[in-house]
């Protein structure tokens, strides 16, 4: 049974957009998104809020979240569902995500067409864990991620080497999110 999306589509989408903007400009800093949202399982509030704010008829979405989430996203975001991860502008992984190299990294002419990968993880916490450096971080920022897929840090280095092409990642844990834009360098803690 289809449940409502944002109670106030304009204000709530703006709030989620702001959270993504802050997250992207300050890589690894945790933001809150999607309070009050009740998406069908296994969607988390933060990932659902990001897709409702950013995905639309012009951005194909690929996901592994099942039929309920599919109907909910199609209806509320109005986004077409991509048949493969490579065809998607937004990729949502609730389980093991596709490899970064399997996603659209954009072109040299239009690097902004690179996909955004949303990974639902168990928890994200600032202060310990991965060492992040790069634009938007003064010295170093640390982010602990529980449930990060194996081999992510090595795959990330290859993704970062594609710059200005590449994939951006948003880690979502319930109503918390943190972004890893393609510019950020990641070292294991």
């Amino acid at each position: 049974m289809l449940t409502p999306g944002f109670a106030d589509p304009v204000l709530h989408a703006q709030a989620a957009f702001r959270a993504v903007l802050d997250a992207m400009s300050r890589p690894g800093r945790v933001q809150l998104a999607g309070p009050g949202l009740a998406p069908p399982a296994p969607l988390m509030r933060a990932s659902a809020a990001v897709l409702l704010s950013l995905a639309d008829a012009a951005t194909p979405v690929w996901h592994d979240a099942g039929a309920d989430a599919d109907a909910w996203l199609r209806f509320h975001a109005g986004a077409p569902v991509a048949t493969t991860p490579r065809d998607a502008a937004f990729v949502l992984a609730t389980g093991a995500p596709p490899t970064l190299a399997a996603l659209d990294a954009g072109t040299e002419e239009e690097p902004e067409r690179g996909a955004t990968l949303l990974i639902q993880v168990e928890a994200i916490e600032e202060g310990t864990g991965l060492r992040l450096t790069g634009p938007g971080i003064e010295h170093e920022h640390r982010l602990l991620v529980r449930g990060l897929p194996d081999g992510f840090v090595a795959a990330w280095a290859a993704n970062r080497a594609l710059f200005p092409r590449g994939v951006d990642v948003i880690l979502c844990a319930w109503d918390r999110l943190a972004a890893l834009p393609r510019t950020v360098a990641i070292a294991e803690g």
Binding site: M1, P4, G5, P9, F75
Partner: protein, 148 residues
């Protein structure tokens, strides 16, 4: 959903898409009130890119956009949808509500008879008047001299 049902639904959606919110509300006012509904997606105005075909029957191209207002409501277990040209939010809300109620056999006949059929008749009359006006400007050629 079976084809006949889809065709019926397409018909009432087409009629409601061509009626103003005021006209629909006027028709509804003559009927007993509908049960309460939950908004699923509030009325929202956006755009649909209108497509044509090269030469009228060739490959599609993008002609330009038009404003469209959509709305979705839940009435019991039924979901009503509306996508209507223009920016009349009341029209979209009422069209979505009616789309849900018209799917309910308990309401279907009363709403068809009280709302959809009269609105469709008014629209057909306006279309007919315009088509007869156009017909009055049809040229009846009188050949001054028949040549080949």
């Amino acid at each position: 959903m079976d084809t006949a049902h889809t065709e019926q639904r397409r018909h009432w959606m087409a009629v409601l898409a061509r009626a103003s919110g005021e006209d629909i509300a006027g028709r509804l006012a003559t009927l007993p009130p509908l049960p309460p509904h939950t908004p699923l997606r509030p009325a929202e105005t956006g755009l649909v890119m209108v497509r044509g075909r090269a030469g009228g029957d060739g490959a599609a191209f993008n002609l330009g956009e038009m404003t469209v207002t959509r709305c979705a409501v839940r009435l019991g277990e039924r979901v009503g949808h509306a996508y209507v040209a223009g920016r009349d939010k009341r029209q979209a809300e009422l069209a979505a509500l009616l789309d849900a109620a018209l799917q309910d056999p308990a309401w279907h006949d009363a709403l068809m008879g009280g709302v959809v059929v009269p609105l469709a008749a008014g629209q057909a009359a306006r279309r007919d008047a315009e088509a007869r006006r156009a017909a009055a400007t049809k040229v009846e050629f009188l050949a001054m001299q028949t040549t080949r």
